[in-house]
């Protein structure tokens, strides 16, 4: 996955970098299957497909700008320095987490697994969590999708407001 991501960022052709991003998404879907999360694998696969279709339709005829580098050394060095400091501090913090594959069995997780089927009657516990125990979060997510659709319909209009005003004043 890391190899495909580096390829996606460095390649000069726009279409190749979009296809490499598709490779990262598919590898992520395989990783979700290995980590025993089938709901997430299905959703990630189809969402990745739709994202690829929209990206390719938008970039298929655009030009490639020239690569004029100014202040190249300072930018690269400062970004790499930030990455090294970030990884160093995260290494110190990650030692506090429990070992991989041995999570803390808290109260909430015990309650969800043991009482989930009898309280809601649904066999798929992930569905029961997002639609019965935490339905408020799903309402928030529906609101976010709704807002983004309204935003896209407002940005990609055929005629702007100025042109409609001019037509009205010319017509009268």
């Amino acid at each position: 996955m890391i190899f495909a991501a580096i390829l996606a960022i460095e390649v000069k052709d726009l279409l190749s970098s979009v296809i490499a991003m598709g490779a990262v998404g598919f590898a992520l879907c395989l990783a979700f299957l290995i980590l025993k999360a089938p709901d997430l694998a299905i959703t990630q696969l189809v969402v990745e497909l739709l994202c690829l279709i929209i990206l390719i339709k938008a970039t298929i005829k655009k030009d490639l700008p020239l690569v004029i580098e100014g202040r190249w050394l300072f930018n690269t060095v400062s970004t790499l320095l930030f990455a090294i400091v970030f990884l160093f501090f995260s290494y110190i913090i990650l030692k506090e987490l429990p070992a991989f594959g041995d999570p803390i069995m808290g109260l909430v997780k015990k309650y969800l697994l043991e009482e989930g089927v009898s309280k809601t009657g649904a066999v798929n516990i992930v569905s029961a969590v997002i639609l019965d125990f935490r339905a408020y979060d799903t309402l928030g997510e529906v609101a976010v999708l709704f807002t983004s659709i309204i935003g896209i319909m407002a940005i990609l209009r055929r005629r702007g407001r100025k042109e409609i005003l001019e037509e009205d004043t010319n017509g009268k």
């Binding site: 960022i9 970098s17 980590l35 970004t79 997002i130 999708l145």
Partner: protein, 112 residues
């Protein structure tokens, strides 16, 4: 422990792409890679070795299922990520129409 670190290295690769590139589409690809790496980190937190998927069946014990709570959160996050990408791409299309180029150092006319 090393799996967590590899996940954060993917995040840093995406961050490098967002900061250092000049093309708008490359910046959007960098943002998408950052989003994927964080979803993966969340699901890694709740994994149990030799666990089972969190779906019941008439003859299974509940003892060793993986954690269902991070999976519910990440499901919502994947769909919201799609909404964000669609909005960003429509903005990029509009900018290309107005200015004729996708290079961020040449887009500096702030007229309406």
């Amino acid at each position: 422990m090393s799996t967590y670190l590899l996940c954060l290295v993917l995040f840093c690769v995406g961050l490098y792409g967002l900061l250092r590139k000049r093309n708008l589409v490359k910046m959007i690809v960098g943002l998408a890679i950052m989003g994927y790496s964080l979803n993966l980190f969340f699901v890694l937190l709740g994994y149990r070795l030799h666990g089972r998927a969190p779906i019941d069946a008439p003859d299974q014990v509940i003892e060793n299922m993986v954690d269902p709570l991070p999976q519910a959160v990440v499901l919502t996050s994947i769909v919201i990520g799609l909404g964000i990408m669609a909005l960003l791409i429509s903005l990029a299309i509009r900018i290309y129409e107005k200015h004729g180029t996708l290079d961020i150092t040449k887009i500096n006319k702030l007229k309406g």
